[in-house]
C-alpha cells in the first residue's frame, strides 16, 4: 500500500504511542524509523554479560495496580499494560552535595518523605508538610485544567486553587524565595531539578512542584527488562492492531501540496508514500529545518522554533562491574551527586567541556538484583551539557575527551560514596552528545527537547498548543512536545497529537 491515513515519523516513545492511538481508532498507520530498532532513547544495549539501560532512571506515573498512576492508565488505554512487568522502587533518592556537606536519603510516600526531612532541618517536617499541601493544590489544579479541556471556570480556579494562580508566573527560585524556607530544605526539595534540566531561575515552579509531588506521592518504577521492553510492547501492539513499522527507513522529506497541507512523505531511498496526516516524533528544528522545504515552512513556525532554547545535551557513563553492589558498598539505587546544591551554579558548570558539577547515578541492581549475573553490578552516571560545547570536538580527540570526563565522574562517585569501583570495570560504554545526535538526530545531541524556560514552560505550552500548530496535516509530538521531556510526558504527548490528528481527520470527513 502506498497510502496511509497517518504516517508517524520516528518510533520513539511519542511516535509509538501515537501510532497505537491512531490504529485503535481504526485508521491505517505506518511508522517510519531511521534506526533498526524502536524506542529512540527508550532502548538498551548489550556489552559482554551486561545489558545496559540507555536512558531511563525511574519511571514516574505508573503507580500500583491498586492505585494506578496516569501513565499506567494510558498504557491500559493503548493496550500494552499487560505486556510490561514493573519493578517498584524503594527510595526516591540519595542526595550527596559536597559544598554543603549534605547526605540525605529520601523515601517515597508523602508521610515518609515528610518525616525524613527532620534530618534535613529541625523544622523540616512542618515545612515540608506545608510544602506538599501546596504541591497537592497545584496537582489538583492541573487535573482540573486538563479535565476542563482548555475551558476552566475562572471562579473555580480562584476559589479552589488560589495558590496555584498566585505562583503561576514564578520560577522555582522566585517561589522558594517567597516561601522563605531554610536553605537546606530548599536544596533538598530542589534535588530533582536535573530531571528537567532547567535551572531554578528559569524553571517553572508549577512544573517542578507538580513533578516532585508526583514522584513523592506515586513513587516510581522501572520496567523489568529495561526500557526496550516498553518499546517492544508498543511495537507488538502496533502489529496487533494491523499497523506497519518500517525500520532503517529514514524520512527525508515531508511533502506538502499547493495549499500547504501535508500530502505525503519521501524516504531516503526516494520512495514516496501518500498521506494527509503526519505525526512527527522529531525535533521541530529537524522538521522545519530539514524535512520541509523552507518555502513550505510558515514564517510563524520559523519564529517559534528560533524562540525555543535547546535543552540539556546528554552524557552517560555505563559501567558493568565485576563485583556485586553489596561487595562494593553501593547501597542505593538512585543518587544525585552534586558539587553544590545550587542549580544555577550547576547549570553554569555544564557550559564547558569537562567535569560538570552534577551527576545522577543509578545502581540498577539495587532496584532489580537480577539485572546482571550474580557477583556483578550495573552502574550508570548521567550529566548534561547546557551549551553546544561538544560541537568543537575533533574526530581524532573524541574518544580521549569522553573517557577523561567519564574517569572524572567515576572518581567523583567514589569520593562521594566512599566506594572503590574503578578497579572493577569489566565493561564500559560512554554516550556523549555525539551519540545522542547519532542515534536520534537531535540538534546538538540534546536529550531533553526544548528547555523549560520562564516563558516556554509546561503551562504556557499546554495553553498555546493550538497556536503552536502551524502546518495543516502536521502534528509534532514526543519529547519536544507540549508536555516537555520525560517518559510519561512523551507518551502522553504522542497520544495527544494522535487525538488532535483524529479530530483533524474527522473534520475532513464532514
Amino acid at each position: 500500500m502506498d497510502r496511509y491515513d497517518v504516517i508517524v515519523i520516528g518510533a520513539g516513545n511519542g511516535g509509538l504511542a501515537a501510532a497505537c492511538r491512531i490504529l485503535n481508532a481504526g485508521k491505517t498507520c505506518l511508522v517510519c524509523e531511521k534506526h533498526n530498532i524502536p524506542g529512540g532513547f527508550a532502548t538498551s544495549f548489550v556489552r559482554g554479560r551486561f545489558e545496559f539501560e540507555a536512558s531511563l532512571h525511574e519511571f514516574n506515573g505508573i503507580g500500583t495496580p491498586e492505585k494506578p498512576g496516569s501513565a499506567r492508565l494510558l498504557f491500559e488505554e493503548l493496550g500494552v499494560a499487560d505486556k510490561i512487568e514493573w519493578i517498584q522502587l524503594k527510595n526516591a533518592y540519595r542526595l550527596i552535595s559536597k559544598k554543603e556537606g549534605y547526605d540525605f536519603t529520601m523515601p517515597f510516600g508523602e508521610e515518609a518523605f515528610i518525616r525524613a526531612n527532620a534530618a534535613v532541618h529541625p523544622d523540616g517536617e512542618r515545612i515540608v508538610r506545608e510544602y506538599l499541601t501546596l504541591c497537592r493544590q497545584i496537582r489538583d489544579a492541573m487535573s482540573y485544567l486538563s479535565a476542563a479541556k482548555g475551558r476552566p471556570d475562572p471562579k473555580v480556579m480562584m476559589e479552589k486553587y488560589p495558590d496555584y494562580m498566585a505562583c503561576g508566573s514564578y520560577s522555582v527560585n522566585e517561589a522558594f524565595e517567597a516561601l522563605g524556607y531554610p536553605q537546606e530544605i530548599v536544596d533538598n526539595l530542589n534535588s530533582y531539578w536535573c530531571y528537567l534540566g532547567a535551572n531554578g531561575n528559569n524553571l517553572s515552579f508549577l512544573h517542578y512542584a507538580n513533578m516532585l509531588y508526583s514522584y513523592i506521592s506515586n513513587g516510581a518504577t522501572i520496567p523489568k527488562y529495561r526500557s526496550h521492553e516498553l518499546s517492544l510492547a508498543l511495537e507488538e501492539r502496533v502489529h496487533e492492531l494491523g499497523g506497519d513499522i518500517w525500520f532503517n527507513s529514514e524520512v527525508t522529506k515531508i511533502l506538502t501540496d499547493a495549499d500547504g497541507h501535508v500530502c505525503g512523505i519521501r524516504l531516503k531511498d526516494g520512495r514516496e508514500i501518500e498521506t494527509r496526516h503526519v505525526i512527527a516524533d522529531v525535533s521541530p528544528h529537524v522538521v522545519y529545518g530539514r524535512l520541509m522545504d523552507s518555502e513550505a515552512v510558515p514564517e510563524k513556525a520559523r519564529k517559534l522554533t528560533n524562540f525555543r532554547k535547546l535543552a540539556g545535551r546528554g552524557f552517560t557513563v555505563f559501567l558493568g562491574l565485576n563485583r556485586s553492589a553489596e561487595e562494593l558498598g553501593i547501597t542505593d539505587h538512585n543518587y544525585f551527586i552534586y558539587d553544590t546544591a545550587d542549580s544555577v551554579a550547576q547549570y553554569e558548570s555544564m557550559k564547558t567541556i569537562g567535569q560538570t558539577a552534577a551527576q545522577a547515578t543509578v545502581c540498577l541492581n539495587n532496584a532489580d538484583p537480577e539485572c546482571s549475573p550474580p557477583g556483578t553490578a550495573i552502574l550508570y552516571m548521567t550529566t548534561l551539557f547546557t551549551d553546544d560545547v561538544w560541537s568543537g570536538v575533533k574526530e581524532e580527540d573524541y574518544y580521549r575527551v569522553k573517557n577523561e570526563i567519564a574517569a572524572a565522574m567515576i572518581r567523583r562517585f567514589e569520593e562521594a560514596t566512599g566506594t572503590q569501583i574503578a578497579e572493577h570495570v569489566e565493561e564500559i560504554a560512554v554516550a556523549t552528545p555525539e551519540t545522542y545526535a547519532r542515534y536520534c538526530g537531535h540538534p546538538q545531541g540534546t536529550v531533553y527537547g526544548y528547555e523549560s524556560q520562564y516563558y516556554d514552560g509546561l503551562m504556557n505550552r499546554i495553553q498555546m498548543v493550538e497556536e503552536d500548530h502551524m502546518v495543516p496535516g502536521l502534528r509534532i509530538g514526543g519529547g519536544y512536545g507540549e508536555r516537555l521531556l520525560g517518559y510519561p510526558s512523551s507518551y502522553k504527548s504522542g497520544v495527544n497529537e494522535a487525538d488532535r490528528t483524529l479530530r483533524d481527520i474527522g473534520k475532513e470527513g464532514m
Binding site: N36, I37, S44, R47, E51, T133, P162, D163, M165, A166, C167, G168, S169, Y170, E177, A178, K224, Y225, R226, H228, E229, L232, A233, D244, N248, K268, H285, V286, G289, R290, V297, E299, R302, T305, N306, F307, R313, W390, S391, G392, V393, E395, E396, Y398, N403, A406, A407, A422, V425, E426, I428, P433, E434, A437, P443, Q444, G445, Y455, N460, M464
Partner: protein, 387 residues
C-alpha cells in the same frame, strides 16, 4: 497557607495571567530566519558514523599462501574513512554471483591513515566472498564498506595500561592496527603481542616495522624451529612471562586457539586483570540429518519465500537467495540484524545469544546467529544503502 510573592495585591495573579501573552510577544519578536538543525556535534556524528562508505579496492598483495593485504581508498566526499578505535572492524558488501554478501574484517591500518583516506585489511581465502575479494575482484572495484564497529579496543578506564595480545593467523590484524596507532601517537599503552604461526612463511607482518619501547612482539612457531622465534604453542610457560595482574589479555584468532589459550591462562598463578576476546562469525552447524525449510521474509511491504537449510544461519539463507541483508558482526553480538520472528522456531546457541532480555520476551532474533528449526517467517530491516 496562602502563597504570596508580590506585596502589591493582585499582582501575583496578574503576572500569571500575562504569561501566554508575553510568550506570544517573544515569539513574534524572534527572528524568522531559516532553522538551523545541524551543528558541529551532528556533523561529528555523521562523520564518525556514516553507516556506509563507498570504498575502492586500490591494491592487493599476497603476504603468504592464501593471505592478502588489501588496501582501500575512501570515495567519501571528504576523502576520509571515519576515524576509528584501533582494534575495530569494518564490513564489506558486494554482489558475488547470485548472492549479496557482507563480511566483517578487522582493520589492520591505523586511525590516522583512515583520516588520509586509506584503510587496510588482511584477508585469508577461505570461502566465496574471500575468494572473490582476493582473486576475482579487479583492482578498482567499488564496494560498500560498513562503518568501523566493535569493542575490541584498548579502553583507558576498563583495561590496564599493559595489554598482552594473543593472536593466531589473521587475528594479528587488530593488533597491527593497535601497534600502528601506538607508533603514530593516536593510542598510548604498552602492547606485548604473542603471535602464533605455523612457520616463518606464515607470518603476516614484519616485526621490524614496530620499533617502539611500548611494543614487544614474540612470535611462536608451531611447525618450525628457528632462531629468534619461540617454538610450540602459546602455553602457560610463555604466558606467565608476560601476563600479570597488572595486564589485560586480548585474544584474536581461531576458536581452537581460544579454547587452548583460555585453558593455559587458567593455569597461571597470577591471573590477568581481564580477558577480552574478539568473537568469530557464527558458522554452519553440524547436523546428522540436515533439512530444508521455507523461510518467509518480510521487508517493508515486500514478502519473499526462500529455502533455508537447518545447518545454516538465517543470514546465510538470505544471502544465498540474493536478498540484501543487513548484517554487521555475524557473531550474534552487535544486533545490527535485529529482526522480528513472526512465526516458527529457531535455534540460537547460548554462547552466541547476545540479545536483549526483552528481545527474548517478545520474539526478536539476530538472524546471523539463528538456525531455522521449522518453517520460519521473519521481518527484517531493509538494507538502506545503495548497492
Amino acid at each position: 497557607m496562602a502563597f504570596q510573592r508580590s506585596k502589591v495585591p493582585g499582582e501575583d495573579i496578574r503576572l500569571a495571567m500575562e504569561m501566554t501573552q508575553k510568550r506570544r510577544q517573544l515569539i513574534e519578536e524572534s527572528p524568522a530566519d531559516p532553522i538551523v538543525w545541524e551543528y558541529g556535534v551532528n556533523r561529528l556524528a555523521a562523520s564518525l558514523h556514516p553507516g556506509f562508505v563507498k570504498a575502492k579496492l586500490c591494491s592487493r598483495e599476497p603476504v603468504c599462501a592464501d593471505c592478502y593485504r588489501i588496501t582501500f581508498k575512501s570515495l567519501r566526499e571528504d576523502g576520509h574513512f571515519p576515524y576509528f578505535r584501533a582494534g575495530q572492524f569494518v564490513t564489506l558488501s558486494a554482489r558475488v554471483g547470485d548472492s549479496f554478501l557482507t563480511r566483517p574484517y578487522s582493520i589492520a591500518s591505523s586511525p590516522k591513515r583512515a583520516m588520509a583516506g586509506e584503510l587496510e585489511i588482511i584477508v585469508r581465502k577461505t570461502g566465496i566472498f574471500s575468494s572473490w575479494l582476493t582473486e576475482e575482484a579487479p583492482v578498482g572495484t567499488e564496494l560498500l564498506m560498513g562503518e568501523p564497529s566493535g569493542d575490541f579496543c584498548h579502553d583507558s578506564i576498563r583495561d590496564k595500561e599493559h595489554i598482552v595480545g594473543i593472536a593466531g593467523g589473521t587475528g594479528a590484524a587488530p593488533f597491527l592496527s593497535m601497534m600502528r596507532a601506538i607508533t603514530e601517537g593516536s593510542e598510548d599503552f604498552r602492547l606485548t603481542l604473542l603471535y602464533g604461526a605455523r612457520t616463518r612463511e606464515q607470518i603476516l607482518f614484519d616485526p621490524e616495522e614496530f620499533r617502539d619501547d611500548r611494543i614487544r612482539i614474540e612470535t611462536v612457531l608451531s611447525d618450525e624451529e628457528a632462531e629468534g622465534y619461540r617454538h610450540g604453542f602459546i602455553s602457560a610457560d610463555i604466558l606467565k612471562e608476560y601476563v600479570t595482574a597488572d595486564s589485560t589479555v586480548f585474544l584474536c584468532g581461531p576458536d581452537a586457539m581460544y579454547a587452548y589459550v583460555l585453558g593455559e591462562l587458567g593455569k597461571l598463578e597470577e591471573a590477568p586483570a581481564g580477558i577480552r576476546q574478539e568473537r568469530n562469525p557464527v558458522g554452519n552447524r553440524i547436523l546428522e540429518k540436515p533439512e530444508t525449510f521455507r523461510l518467509t521474509v518480510r521487508i517493508r511491504d515486500n514478502v519473499k519465500t526462500i529455502d533455508a537449510r537447518s545447518e545454516e544461519t538465517l543470514i546465510t539463507a538470505l544471502e544465498r537467495a540474493g536478498i540484501p541483508a543487513v548484517v554487521r558482526c555475524r557473531s550474534g553480538v552487535c544486533g545490527f540484524c535485529h529482526s522480528r520472528l513472526v512465526s516458527g522456531e529457531c535455534y540460537i546457541a547460548p554462547e552466541n545469544d547476545f540479545r536483549r532480555a526483552a528481545d527474548r520476551k517478545f520474539g526478536y532474533i539476530h538472524p546471523c546467529s539463528a538456525y531455522p528449526m521449522s518453517d520460519v517467517e521473519i521481518e527484517i530491516p531493509i538494507f538502506d544503502a545503495e548497492e
